[in-house]
Subunit: 370 residues, 2 copies
């Protein structure tokens, strides 16, 4: 194969794709990038077998073909090249010759047939989603997903269609067993998912990055096995997690009648202060809800203790409840509104945290003994 | 003890001092900060036994005394406090009580007498150095010092006074055995060092940071055992390395008669490109100096090879020589001038790299077999 390509576009695609290539994989193909010619562009492909990213970059094809070379090395080389036309040529033994002005690189490669077969997808299954902000939805719940490998069915975001008061709603839910995040967005378009799909976290992080740069003309599709996103000239194919997502509706408390409205920034500062003392471990922060105030208390056998009273409109019966401060701080950071609601029931029941006005986002935080 | 202090100044000092405190030391005192009252300020002290930093912060002393508490925790707490007056009080069992608005922290501490004794120093030994830019001098050579712990006598910068053509010169030299950096600065003030002093790298990195923020009114002193710098309200005391610095003058080649003037930025880019292929290992870059050009070549058994010809004014006999590309890139990054000189003798002799105009900075790079 042989083609000529502008540095700028090529580098941009390589920088996005090389993040998926696994530098340490024992399967060489997974640390490589497959470059194949199409009519007036090259398709660049990397995969970690779970997430596959395909990027189409316009170029001048002189001879059709494929090459498969180290994703990191081609990225590092192109990064250092001058802003000029780069010429790439497949040579004998699957090597590639890269030339740009006075520089000549000969890079070893592997047989392109060793590169994994692409998951099947068809561009015509992709539907345009204009009305939901996919990136924001992912950001609001992804941090509540589990990172424990053994809980593989919680290592992603659960996506489903819900009918709420005759509206079509796209819902994302994630949980690590200690906390849960849920966001709803009204959508004209009904996604074709029967019982919902679990999309792995890692792939969604890539989707988030790419959508960040190309927010327009987003198309998605959910098949039997894959979640597919097309943004600009990128296609991301993520293999769905084959597992059961827990019945999250059971987890969301319905009888939390102690509702306290608080200022997000001030309360978050206060909680961060009190949490400094227990930050190294998960020792929990004790909340004492009393007339006119929430008292936060944290202690650590080796270090000492911290206490701060935060004024709050509350006139019910006094109660004590403990939380992992980090979970609440995370939830508050993801809430954009100035005010949020802390909804409690009793000392052993989960709390709900949600923006004061926006009703389509909520976090459930399990209590802990302190 | 008891004092009231403004958050801003206190936090600034704590952030600088806590970098020296060793979080993982088995000696608790070394992860702690000693706070002792003076007339209208507190002195904050941390040490890793090699480098000691003392900072004086104005405050309102209500009761004299000392406390000794975790450097990192007090820093993390103060960072989260509101911009307001902070009150700190020594309480029973060496604990400290920190209050600020509604927040109360009780922090465990240790007996201040367990904190290491300060190295002796006297402010009157400090002399003002106006004419040399100490920070810049450190920056230009510190990266050439060795990081191998076993070569403790090369783990710092060698500082000495030299008489050059009837001028007093302050000289800094560092080497890791493969490369050497040397910088001279004319100085009115003759430092009182007989045979030179080796100042450890780690302490000088702290000096560099502090001078960066407070470049004025710099005073230094070199005693039998310590190098002392005073910058603004900070005093840094660094224990000298007790060892012999090699006779570096022997290492600086005097007969390098092949002198090539090159553009720093362009040559550096070219070398970085060719080096990408060998960046993971130290495989060396082969320089072929020939009529009108330097040809750079690098290869890596697993990856391939790279070659680029860089135009150069050279008309002598052709020669081949290998270098660790990283060492040359480092030296070129430290040279501010647009043009530099590459001075060579033969294939087995060290090269000199120096700015084309400024004669008081040079790097010696040992060749390697390629």
């Amino acid at each position: 194969m042989e083609f000529q390509i502008e540095k700028k576009n090529f580098l941009k695609s390589l920088s996005i794709l090389q993040s998926i290539a696994d530098k340490h994989s024992s399967i060489i193909a997974l640390s490589n990038i497959l470059i194949e010619s199409e009519k007036n562009f090259v398709r660049l492909i990397t995969t970690d077998l779970e997430t596959t990213i395909i990027s189409s970059v316009p170029c001048n094809i002189k001879e059709d073909g494929k090459i498969c070379i180290s994703a990191r090395k081609i990225y590092e080389i192109v990064r250092e090249l001058p802003e000029a036309e780069i010429s790439i040529q497949g040579i004998e033994n699957h090597w590639a010759k890269i030339t740009c002005k006075n520089a000549i690189f000969n890079l070893s490669g592997i047989d392109p047939n060793e590169f994994p077969t692409l998951p099947p997808y068809s561009e015509k299954d992709l539907i345009e989603i204009k009305d939901i902000n996919l990136r924001e939805m992912i950001e609001k719940v992804i941090f509540t997903a589990s990172t424990e490998e053994s809980r593989y069915n919680l290592n992603g975001i659960f996506l489903e269609n819900v009918s709420l008061e005759d509206m079509n709603v796209v819902r994302m839910v994630a949980t690590d067993g200690h906390r849960l995040g849920l966001i709803d967005r009204e959508s004209q378009e009904l996604l074709d998912i029967k019982s919902g799909a679990i999309i792995p976290k890692r792939g969604l992080n890539e989707v988030k990055k790419i959508i960040g740069e190309y927010p327009d003309e987003l198309k998605i599709s959910i098949g039997e096995n894959n979640f597919i996103v097309k943004a600009n000239s990128y296609i991301i194919i993520i293999r769905l997690i084959d597992g059961e997502f827990p019945d999250y509706k059971q987890v969301i408390p319905k009888e939390n009648d102690k509702i306290i409205k608080l200022n997000n920034r001030d309360f978050s500062s206060c909680l961060r202060r009190v949490s400094t003392i227990s930050a190294d471990r998960v020792e929990g922060v004790k909340f004492t809800i009393k007339k006119g105030a929430i008292e936060l208390y944290s202690s650590n056998q080796d270090l000492g203790n911290a206490m701060e009273e935060f004024p709050a409109m509350y006139d019910g019966t006094e109660m004590n409840i403990g939380f992992n401060g980090r979970y609440i701080i995370d939830a508050l950071s993801a809430i954009d509104e100035d005010e949020f609601l802390l909804e409690l029931k009793d000392e052993t029941s989960a709390a709900i945290i949600r923006p004061a006005e926006m009703k389509n986002l909520l976090y459930v935080i399990m209590p802990m003994r302190v």
